[in-house]
Amino acid sequence: MNWTEFAFAAVTSAVGAIGGLGGAVLLVPMLVLTGTTARAAAPLGLVSVAAGSSAAGARQLNDGLVNHRIGISTELFASAGVVTGAIASGLASDRVLKLVLAGVAFAAGVLGARRKGIRNLPDPSLTSADVGEHIGALSGAYQLDDGVVPYSAKRFRVGAALFGLSGLIAGLAGASGGFVKTPASSEVMHVPVRVAAATTTFTIGVTSAAGLIVFALQGRLDLRECAAVCAGSVIGATVGVAVQARLAPPQVRRFLSAALVVIAIVLVVRA
């Protein structure tokens, strides 16, 4: 067992799940800073994302927070991006990948710190029987405390373009791209942040799967290392999702954001 990778994956997946940024954006820079090449770290990042996404999935489905229609429609563009990025990353030098990673970490830090709270408000005429997603539309309703909040996705084209960008980042750097997807859904498409976060958790799993298939076919997966990261990420994400409800996510996100900016600076200096 590679205990270092196992521990890194467990801690970053837990912290990432609590902060809502995804753990890979922390894991990959940490692996690179401790000696793993950016080329080798990228697939491990996607393994961490896929494992964390699966671990959180069942709970979020039970909570009725995931909107599959919004997720799968936007994921089309993210998957096209991740395939492009994963193929391009095989052609790029380690220095370029390290700089991309630094840019990703910095952007994640800034975007995470800027994320807003609740935009959509409960509708008193709706009951818990109205919770769910609507057939044939990018809309639905979700339970927020004692109320039910209706929502409808807006500005789909802009959101889709941003999802394509998030996929490209995932393929190039091995980060989940969740730090782009969740703000794109909530701030651009006006999907409530809890629905956006849960739907993103589902879609980053699909993005990672698409990227991992490419990496596997390129012979870039070390199965033993992947297994250690997978085991650590399942534990970390399970703990993180359970703890998330008890902590104040904005405080954790601010801490994560500061850490990511520091990591970005160190990566640029080392590149």
Binding site: S79, H134, C230
Partner: protein, 91 residues
């Protein structure tokens, strides 16, 4: 207002079972030496890749059954994009 979709009740327990299976495979793959460990590690990676794609298949089939053809097509196209990526990676 649009008609409400019915949740797929089998999906959460299926996700949970698959995640547990991936964790068991991954732990064996990370701890056990030799061919058995390598096979288990391969199964772990295969499982976590399969889980989200299987979820897209299940949701797409559900949409097709309830007559939401437009989104069923979107799900099918998404799987095609993933498949196309695999083909491009081999070329």
């Amino acid at each position: 207002m649009s008609e409400l979709d019915t949740p797929i009740r089998a999906l959460p327990p299926l996700m949970l079972a698959a995640t547990i299976a991936a964790f068991v495979f991954a732990t064996v793959g990370a701890v056990v030496d030799g061919r058995a460990g390598t096979v288990a590690a391969g199964l772990a990676v295969s499982t976590i890749v399969a889980i989200p794609l299987l979820r897209v298949v299940i949701v797409g089939v559900h949409w097709l059954r309830i007559g939401d053809r437009r989104f069923a097509v979107v799900a099918a196209v998404l799987l095609a994009v993933v498949g196309l990526g695999a083909i491009l990676a081999v070329l």
